[in-house]
Symmetry: C2
């Protein structure tokens, strides 16, 4: 007997919603470690308002530009993503396009931000390095004293310190397209506002995840933009735009549907079986001092108000529970349904030992796909 994967997925999404999974919890103040552990166990997003964030030194110092510059150091260069349209890391016309990266002093960064034309920015600047940039020798390590070392209720609940702490700052034109992370994420807005559009693991399989050839925005001498092909060393995962090194093209796995766009909405609602809703996703806007628990594996798109500064803490995700098992099963079914490209390691098809010659090619390809994927899921917020 066989199974219709589309039907199984649709019923699953409906069941998930009928059990109340598609909801945002809301707390006044911080949760207890146990209450937070329950949110993690249920993989349920939550907003914490009026917690102790108001007491963080950052609430004053990050809001004062000269104080912020003094803390970072006016001689310290920081990595800034620059794009013509605010879309750093997004699929555009079948290509995954990385941002141009510049190393700027924090004063230069703010000057550039101030110079962005609100109606036609031409160059959109965003500090989004998300490589644990507030700790160790990160660009913003000197700001780490302005925030807690960790979020106490999360550390106690999860039994470990955060894997990464990141500083985010940028233009209101910057948008992060739908993607998911294998991290439990605590996101705090210090100044400005951030809007998250959330799609749960029970539905994110509908976002048409595929592997895309990768390019990178590059400014031209005439103040316009081009895209350059990005290659990747399959051994070191180092990337380059230099074709002469004869590395294969970098491939990146990413969501290609954005149901907040009219043209993608119906495909999405058809797949999850919710045609009655205009906006069948959760949206939450964080204002100054708000804290969001963004659970692992929830797909999210992020937009922001102008002058937004935020900090996030990434905690290790536990692969031991039912969530990851369910997630893998859904992805296998979604691949069967033609809704996404099959994960290489899910269905065991690549365990084929009796064609060794082919394995060499396949492995190389797999390595690249996985490398690109890993690159963009580890430390991506």
């Amino acid at each position: 007997m066989t199974t219709d994967p589309k039907e199984v997925l649709r019923i699953h999404s409906q069941t998930f919603r009928s059990f109340g999974g598609h909801t945002l919890a809301s707390f006044e103040g911080s949760p207890s470690p146990l209450a937070f552990a329950k949110l993690v166990a249920e993989n349920r997003p939550a907003l914490f308002r009026n917690s102790n964030v108001e007491d963080w030194p950052a609430m004053e110092s990050f809001g004062n530009r000269s104080q912020l510059v003094d803390l970072i150091g006016s001689d310290r260069n920081v990595k800034v993503a620059v794009t013509p349209n605010g879309l750093a890391d997004a699929v555009i016309d079948g290509t995954f396009v990385l941002p141009h990266e510049e190393s700027l002093s924090i004063n230069e960064f703010f000057d550039r931000l101030d110079a962005e034309d609100p109606s036609n920015p031409q160059a959109v600047h965003y500090i989004q390095s998300q490589n644990n940039n507030m700790r160790g020798d990160g660009d913003f390590a000197k700001l780490f004293e302005q925030v807690p070392e960790h979020i106490d209720f999360a550390t106690e609940a999860l039994g470990a310190m955060p894997d990464a702490v990141n500083f985010w700052c940028g233009s209101r034109h910057a948008v992060t397209s739908f993607h998911k992370d294998h991290y439990e994420n605590i996101y705090i807005v210090i100044t400005g506002s951030k809007t998250f559009t959330l799609i749960p693991p029970s539905e994110s399989w509908a976002l048409e995840e595929r592997t895309f050839p990768t390019s990178k925005y590059t400014p031209t001498e005439t103040r316009s933009w081009t895209q350059e092909v990005v290659y990747m060393d399959p051994k070191t995962y180092d990337t380059t735009t230099d074709a002469s090194q004869s590395h294969p093209r970098m491939m990146t796995r990413w969501c290609s549907l954005d149901p907040t766009r009219d043209e993608d909405l119906e495909t999405f609602t058809d797949r999850i079986g919710f045609t009655a809703y205009k906006s069948p996703f959760l949206t939450v806007t964080l204002e100054r001092g708000d804290m969001l628990y963004l659970p692992a594996l929830w797909a999210h798109k992020v937009e922001q108000g102008s002058g937004t500064i935020a900090v996030n803490y990434w905690y290790d995700f536990s692969f031991g529970g039912s969530l990851y098992l369910l997630h893998r099963m859904l992805r296998g079914l979604a691949a069967d349904a033609g809704y996404m490209e099959r994960d290489e390691d899910i269905d065991g098809d690549d365990d084929d030992d009796d064609c060794e010659e082919e394995d060499v090619d396949v492995d190389e390809e797999t390595l690249l796909v996985q490398a690109g994927y890993t690159n963009h899921t580890i430390f991506r917020g």
Copy 2:
């Protein structure tokens, strides 16, 4: 495109095991509420040794028969399950057979227990009423002061008091066949020993769950046994062996495979994809003072040493996380694969509104099936 449900289920079971889900955690002493919450979140069974059980008054009073009789009251009759073979609530030759029930004084119960012939018991006695029998006006309410009102770490972790507390006592010939409960279960052995054979929700779909016509053991006047058909009132769910009331036969949903039996082992291991193992399940024996966390939805078979007295606490199961969603999906796939009878409410097939005449029959049948099922999952340990 279609999906092979057998393949999906096999891969799932293998993934579950490769992620370490098929393991028993072991603690010295009691866990903290957070540690217990993590076990619940991961649906992982755990054995707690040398916890504070030794301090429970029951450890002395339940081990002393005269003290136990005094506490219960020699004039108080209690409900005892009696069977010819120790199989209360089991599928035998295509029929689900309930035990004969007698109301005996606790002295009579012990006399009967002592009289059981070890090699050929003929009548096996077991106190297994599991209807919250230690609280309220239960048969063993007078024993409740001998044990804690609740298990503190579990109550704190789960945020609620137990739904039921039960007293168990019986013959070493008594066996509880494979089944699962929608409860988080804390099981404590006071005297004797209990052996649990455990099969996780990621594999229990392989146990060939079906709906069986129900009968009841009945002793004859010549000291042998017969079975009587059991009928059920579809409105009140009351059962009767009186055919003249013209109620339909009671139907009970139960596991029909027992992979600990040689004849069922291969079917089970084929389905879950583990042919290399002789005993592909977890087995744990609790001795005096040991405490087991038996997570919701794990199928379990229970055997015991002679003179075993145990207590269990049932806590509400949270349907909000990924486990129940995964469980439903697995059951739907297992029904597609022909491994179990389809749950009426899983695949939406019974939402068929355009055949009203048939609906009357179907509803009545469904009610009975569900009633029988409910009857045997609520308060079954």
